[in-house]
Amino acid sequence: MKVRILVSFKESVLDPQGQTVKNALHTLGYDFIKDVRQGKVFEVELQGLSEDQAQKVIPEIADKVLANPIIEKFSWEVLSEGKKVSRN
């Protein structure tokens, strides 16, 4: 099973990288960009874990290792085999 965990600063925390990217995009003429927030993504491959177990253990890992809950929040999703949640 493969899961994707997204970690980013909480809304109220300053995101200097996102701001700088936004400014760069503006100077390139992409004025329709209203806001950019930058975060981290972890694509994690799990072995021998049921989805139920994952439900328990992924938030634990995210909270303990991947994110600092003081300033960051996280979300996650299962990337099922066939499913195309995104495009390229």
Partner: protein, 228 residues
């Protein structure tokens, strides 16, 4: 030779580089502001070290969109000498004036230390004052200096002598431990096929005065000054 040192927001070796050129090597040198459109008749453009745009997104990724960069690109295409030091090297890669990309150092830490590099090609505008194979002791200071290029590119670079500097140990061997940041083929400095654009991670401006412990970096500047 008149030098132009480009100042991006976040450049922080701009003053150091200018100081060495003006006060130590007694050259004509001037800052070039990233928002301008004019290189002002310089013979060599230096993209200095630092953290242009905070190195946000990727090192060198945002600086490549500066107005002045278009002039630098044309200048390079016309054969003008361009030297990218550290962040400047990263910008040259992002710009595509040199092939490849930088990854995080293999130990995932910023590294500031003296290293030895070996001059692999002493026939370039930037190295002709050195002996072939000469060892230079010059500091590095970077987080993203782990050079990467696909295998074909590496072959091509080697075959055409474009690898100009390589990390080696004090005996001149290109060993694994000497390759502190994990670069492909120990690459520390690269030149373009035409031979007028050099990117290097070590900071020659930090090794151009005896009081700083090494003068080996001068060879790079002196080569440029005495080129043709």
């Amino acid at each position: 030779m008149k030098f132009g040192v480009v100042v991006f927001p976040g450049s922080n070796c701009d003053h150091d580089t200018l100081f060495i050129l003006q006060k130590v090597l007694c050259q004509e040198a001037t800052f070039l502001w990233h928002k301008d459109h004019d290189l002002g008749r310089v013979g060599c453009v230096i993209l200095p070290g630092g953290f242009s745009y905070g190195d946000y997104l990727r090192a060198g990724a945002i600086a490549k969109f500066s107005p002045l960069i278009e002039e630098v690109r044309e200048f390079a295409e016309r054969g003008g000498l361009v030297l990218g030091i550290c962040n400047g090297f990263q910008i040259l890669l992002e710009l595509g004036l040199l092939p490849g990309a930088m990854l995080r150092n293999k130990n995932l830490k910023f590294l500031c230390q003296h290293v030895h590099v070996r001059v692999e090609n002493a026939r370039t505008a930037f190295t002709h004052r050195a002996r072939p194979g000469q060892l230079l002791r010059i500091p590095i200071a970077h987080f993203d200096g782990n050079y990467y290029a696909p295998a074909e590119t590496l072959h091509r670079l080697e075959a055409s002598n474009q690898v100009v500097l390589r990390y080696v140990d004090e005996n001149g061997e290109a060993t694994e431990p000497a390759n502190v940041n994990g670069s492909a083929s120990n690459i520390a400095g690269l030149i373009n096929a035409k031979g007028n654009v050099l990117g290097m991670m070590p900071h020659p401006e930090r090794a151009s005065e005896a009081v700083l412990g090494s003068r080996d970096g001068r060879l790079i500047f002196e080569s440029i000054i005495l080129w043709r």
